[in-house]
Amino acid sequence: MSTAQFVQYLVSGVTQGSIYALIGLGFTMIYAVTKIINFAQGEFVMLGGMLSFTLAHSAGLPLAPALIISVIVAALVGAAMYIFAIRPAKSASVVSLIIITIGAAIFIRGLAGVLWGVDSVRPPFFTGSRSISFLGAYIHPQALWIIGTTVVVTIILHLFLAYTMVGKALKACAINPVASSLVGINPRTMALIAFVLAAAVGGIGGVVMAPLTLTSYNVGVMLGLKGFVAAAIGGFKSPLVAVFGGLLLGVVESLAVAANWGPFTSAYKDAIAVIVLLLILLIRSGRLAEEEMTG
């Protein structure tokens, strides 16, 4: 493989990985505050992409407001999901909560299928499609948007958690919900905020991703799984490691497909993520089990 080819695959891996990173951020945030794995996380990405297509392409809105509205709607769906599906199930078991979030996921996915049909769609590119040459590789401007957005979102989120009152409250709630409710932090409000933030981040991912990778009503499951892998690399604790995990997974996928050895042709691309997932889970299973019991 030449350097140019390598760079090409690397860039495409980082681009894909950025999306996984954003989804992984969402998983981590919700898990930290509520100890729930939200199996509907990928659906927010789908919603962001599909909404931006409808608003920017079908409804003919200017791009910027179309994108912002898409993200806001995705965030609202996240809020609705928490209020109508998660909060009423107060003290449900882990199994029940898994089934509830899966139920919410296929509910959202089904409605999307009804509303938008089953075809793949492509929202307009943000800034055209003239590739930029870099070290012999061609980089699509949308890829730069994806990578840039991920960097900005990660930084903003980090600053938000570290320096704002709400961010600190979220952190406190993640560390110890009982103690934080004693000092006046309402865990339910924090959980709602976590869901809204996770959905918004997912929506942003969907909005920037869709023009390049296309989107359809059923992309949520696979993206959710890959975001989960990213979050699992971070142990569902560290947002920054989740971002790193997402990028890593994207690059591994891309290079594995590029290497084309053995059975790993592009048809098996999705299987790579699953294998990585199983490896991580099994390697970490001892620690994860402990956390599950104490957490």
Binding site: A104, I106, V114, L225, V274
Partner: protein, 327 residues
């Protein structure tokens, strides 16, 4: 007295169901539902396994369709491509699926809760990808057709009428076996595991072994159902075993009442009727309804719809009796 009456009641219900199920294919009006009833029987078999795994043992599987698919494809490939006797193919499929479950059982049950759910989801996806991509064996996305019928001697199960009895013979056998397991020492051990793994371990239950055994049993059930499925439809394609298929199996188990063996018929029946008869014309709406059902049932009746309905029925009956006793 109460318990005797209770069992009398359940015998009446079972007798009524049996009569109905035997009459179903004979009656000219009902016989149009024979195919539907066959599918209900097939899915009941898978659902019972999932109920044992999820309801009694408390272990989530979001990849149960994979076992269903392995059974289906092994049966299809052996009997069609290699001309193996379908019954032998079915047996080999069940053994291989069980062995597969046994091999993945030990590593995968080191995981719990959310991680177990995601791992089973992942395994389901891998199998689905393999069904699709190993097109040399499986026919790829288009699937395989022309799979032979099952037969005993010269008696070929080549009509829905005949297959109906075949499928329900298996289905009732699976239900009775499961019923016995649940009421035995093993069943009590499983419920203990669901209650608390640490406590079960402390009274000498080998938690890991029981979990793996139940996984193997549920995989064998799913495999048998898969074999019956391909020999009924004579066609198989990967779409039947995707992620949604696994979720639909969970819906069936949830509607049936997770910890209820007989509820599986109710769950599989309600879901198949909803899919095949009522919502078929509405495209994606069935998924929307299933999503809603999952959320609502888990919030308001985590023990499952069927179990809850049974409870309500019991309470009404008690109220009625009390009123009758009082002068």
């Amino acid at each position: 007295m109460l318990s005797r009456l209770k069992s009398k009641w359940s015998y009446v219900v079972i007798a009524a169901l049996l009569t109905l199920s035997i009459l179903l294919p004979f009656d000219w009006f009902l016989s149009q539902y024979t195919t539907l009833a066959i599918f209900i029987g097939i899915y009941t078999i898978v659902t019972v396994g999932l109920c044992l795994l999820m309801g009694y043992t408390g272990q989530v599987s979001l990849g149960q369709a994979a076992f269903f698919g392995i059974g289906a494809y092994i049966s299809a490939i052996l009997s069609k491509t290699y001309g193996v006797n379908p019954w032998l193919a079915m047996l080999i499929a069940a053994i291989m699926t069980g062995a597969f479950a046994y091999i993945i059982g030990y590593p995968i049950f080191r995981l719990k809760g959310n991680y177990l759910a995601m791992a089973t989801l992942g395994l389901g996806l891998i199998m689905w990808i393999l069904f699709r991509e190993l097109s040399h064996f499986t026919g790829g996305p288009d699937g395989m057709s022309g799979i032979p019928y099952l037969s005993i001697g010269g008696f070929v199960f080549n009509t829905s009428f005949r297959r109906y009895f075949l499928v329900w013979f298996f289905c009732l056998a699976v239900l009775l076996i499961s019923q016995n397991i649940v009421r035995s020492r093993v069943g009590r051990a499983l419920r203990a595991i669901h209650g608390s793994e640490a406590a079960s371990e402390s009274i000498g239950i080998n938690v890991e072994q029981f979990k793996v055994k139940i996984l193997v049993l549920s995989a064998v059930y799913a495999s048998i159902a898969g074999s019956l499925f391909v020999h009924h439809l004579r066609f198989v394609s990967p779409g039947t075993f995707d992620f949604l298929a696994s979720v639909k199996l969970v819906v069936m188990a949830v509607i049936g009442g997770l910890a209820s063996v007989w509820g599986a018929i109710f769950g599989a029946g309600a879901t198949r009727i909803l899919s095949d008869e009522i919502l078929l014309r509405f495209g994606q709406w069935d998924i929307v309804i299933y999503g809603l059902i999952l959320v609502l049932v888990m919030i308001f009746m985590p023990e499952g719809l069927f179990v809850r309905l049974k409870e309500i029925f019991e309470r009404l009956r008690l109220m009625y009796r009390q009123r009758g006793v009082e002068p």
